[in-house]
């Protein structure tokens, strides 16, 4: 993807450099311990899959990383610098963008308006009102779509007319366009069909090649294994460990994620179909 002309895209990080490091991250909500000491390192140019069943603490972790929650305790470093985010805006400013599963796009708004929502290019201002440079915005939106491989008839068409996979891709493209170095993708494929999923996974792989760090949250181990370089498994607010792809098999991942025994048992009962 070539850099577009208006916005200086954040300098591409060198591959292999640590973008995010968290050590012993703890988050309490009153008496509830949502995270009980999570550690994780995300390098540039890797897809780091975060796996875990419901209630494992995935959402709390990503919301902490994306600035929605403040951690109760623990170290949180971005590119080697200690940070403390007060809002998602702070995280965005440090190049950490989160694409949520269902909250990514507004169906009734046009593609262009969605793409630039919150960061509209300004043509001129009158008092408190900044006028949007709509022509320019349309042009960029169309070009970005084309680069992902989505043919839009008209960037003014409503996002509701796009498929689920296309919407995810547009949301991701938006984050990248606005200079994200770290992408946190929250279950980007969970609501998608096979063709749509492969479209998203292909795009994720393409972005990894560009040197972005991607945290990919899912509970579909297959999707994770298809694109992941490393896998961190969360269980009951703790990390069960981080594994390179070469160190672990798909089956083993599946079992660890489900908290071992029970699923293993069930798997045997069902003849290996889970």
């Amino acid at each position: 993807m070539t850099a577009t002309d208006i916005r200086p895209i954040a300098p591409t990080p060198q591959p292999g450099r640590a973008l995010i490091e968290v050590h012993n991250l703890v988050k309490h909500f009153g008496p509830v311990i949502a995270l009980a000491g999570v550690s994780l390192t995300l390098h540039a140019g890797e897809v780091h899959c975060l796996l875990g069943d419901n209630g494992a603490g995935k959402s709390t972790l990503i919301k902490t990383l994306s600035g929605v929650f403040r951690p109760t305790n623990g170290d949180f470093m971005v590119e080697g610098e200690q940070v403390s985010f007060g809002s998602p805006r702070d995280a965005l400013d440090r190049g950490i963008a989160t694409v949520y599963q269902d909250l990514a796009m507004i169906p009734l708004l046009s593609i262009t308006r969605n793409f630039f929502l919150g960061r509209e290019p300004v043509k001129w201002r009158v008092g408190p009102f900044s006028f949007i440079d709509m022509e320019h915005a349309d042009q960029i939106a169309r070009e970005e779509m084309r680069q992902i491989g989505i043919n839009v008839r008209d960037p003014q068409q409503h996002v509701g007319t796009l498929s689920g996979g296309e919407r995810q891709c547009v949301a991701i493209a938006r984050a990248v366009h606005f200079g994200a170095k770290v992408l946190i993708l929250d279950e980007p494929t969970s609501a998608l069909g096979v063709a749509q999923t492969s479209m998203v996974l292909k795009y994720v792989r393409q972005l990894r090649q560009k040197g972005l760090g991607i945290i990919f949250i899912t509970h579909n181990v297959r999707h994770a294994y298809a694109v992941g370089d490393r896998f961190t498994i969360l269980n009951r607010g703790k990390t069960l460990g981080t594994f390179k792809k070469s160190e672990i098999t798909l089956d083993r991942l599946q079992i660890m994620m489900a908290g071992d025994k029970e699923l293993q048992q069930l798997d045997e009962e069902l003849g290996g179909t889970v």
Partner: protein, 377 residues
């Protein structure tokens, strides 16, 4: 879409090509996607109907036109506020009560405290904006439906209007504003007319009727129409051309998604509540200075009329979609029917029957349009 390759080497630079696939969408389809379409069809229908049934009754003479234009403009003023707020995802049911209350905030200080009328008007605007702010703040802070929050304001404000009016003046109508205002520019600003010489010229050339004393039958365009058009133009431009407009659509379309990309949703919503209060106060001022009095029942049911106009104009009740032009058409339909019925001789009672039907048809139509636009399945 997955089979499409992501890079085509022979791609031309984006700037030089219009998309060839654009042609596939006909102008009619593009038009169908406009929120105001239904309302426009309604306007055509209503004019055709009254043109046929009341064409020679004076409804379309200068004074007749001015009467329905004025009624439409009054509603337009509040409908513009309601439409913007509805697009932003909220309702304000306190608009009608705000009209009454704002009128009292102008009349009481002027007549009973001896304040200069300009100061009273400023006071009323400041007070109304403050109440709008509170409505908005409570709504966004508590997360309660604005329907309920402003229903409370509807009662509180109407009650206050009556109670304060009785407390200070011992009656529910406060008159004497005209005398107190004298020839203040405020009177002209809200109840004057513009373009007088144009109408004199029209009458001089026998293009419009004259009164027995030789003056034109219409001596200018009432300021209420000027206010309606000015507010409409400003609101339309803000909504469609500015960042704030995009934020309004975003806040109404999906507040969480908008927040996630950094839109100050709460600030947008609170400002919209303040804007509806502002519109209600403009309406109130036009009435106070036209009649020279404030009455505690002013603006009764206007909240619903404003919402109806916005909905007929294509605003979705769920937010995120709609237009100011549509709301203007909605208000125009309203005014034309309300006044037109007087000309046709149909009993006035049928007005509400018509209105209810119109609302139902509009909502059904909007629903259809939304499905088409978003390709909801």
């Amino acid at each position: 879409m997955a089979e499409q390759s992501t890079a085509t080497p022979d791609r031309k630079p984006a700037a030089t090509i219009g998309d060839e696939r654009l042609a596939h969408q006909s102008p009619i389809q593009r038009l169908m996607a406009r929120p105001a379409l239904g309302a426009f069809a309604g306007v055509v229908l209503v004019f055709a109907f009254f043109g046929a049934t009341a064409g020679n009754t004076g409804m379309f003479a200068a004074d007749g036109m001015m009467s329905w234009a004025t009624v439409s403009a009054q509603l337009m003023i509040v409908a513009i506020g309601a439409a913007l707020l509805m697009i932003g995802g909220e309702f304000d049911l306190s608009v009608g009560s705000m009209i009454g209350f704002a009128g009292m905030m102008m009349a009481l200080p002027t007549v009973y405290f001896g304040w200069p009328v300009e100061l009273s008007v400023l006071f009323a605007f400041a007070g109304a904006l403050g109440i709008g702010f509170l409505n908005g703040l409570i709504t966004v802070r508590t997360g309660l439906p604005s329907f309920i929050v402003t229903l409370a304001s509807l009662y509180i404000l109407r009650g206050l209007t009556i109670a304060l009016s009785v407390l200070f003046s011992n009656r529910t109508i406060v008159s004497g504003v005209k005398e107190a205002a004298g020839d203040s520019f405020v009177t002209w600003l809200f109840a004057g007319t513009v373009g007088n010489s144009f109408f004199v010229w029209l009458a001089g050339n026998n293009l419009i009727d004259r009164l027995p004393n030789g003056e034109p039958i219409v001596n200018g365009i009432p300021m209420v129409i000027v206010w309606a058009l000015a507010l409409a133009i400003a609101a339309h431009i803000i909504l469609t051309k500015t960042r704030v407009g995009n934020w309004i659509f975003g806040a109404g379309g999906d507040a969480n998604a908008a927040r996630n990309v950094g839109v100050p949703v709460n600030r947008v919503k609170i400002s919209l509540f303040m804007f509806t209060a502002f519109c209600a106060t403009v309406y109130a001022a036009c009435q106070v200075f036209e009649f020279g009095s404030a009455a505690s029942d002013r603006g009764l049911l206007k909240e619903f009329e404003a919402i109806i106009a916005a909905v007929i104009g294509g605003c979705l009740l769920t937010g995120g979609y709609g237009s100011i032009i549509g709301a203007m058409f909605g208000a125009l339909i309203f005014g034309v029917v309300q006044q037109g019925i007087l000309y046709t001789g149909v009993p006035n009672d049928w007005f509400r029957v018509f209105l209810g039907t119109m609302l139902l048809v509009a909502v059904l139509f909007n629903n259809m349009i939304r499905r088409r636009v978003t390709a909801e399945r």
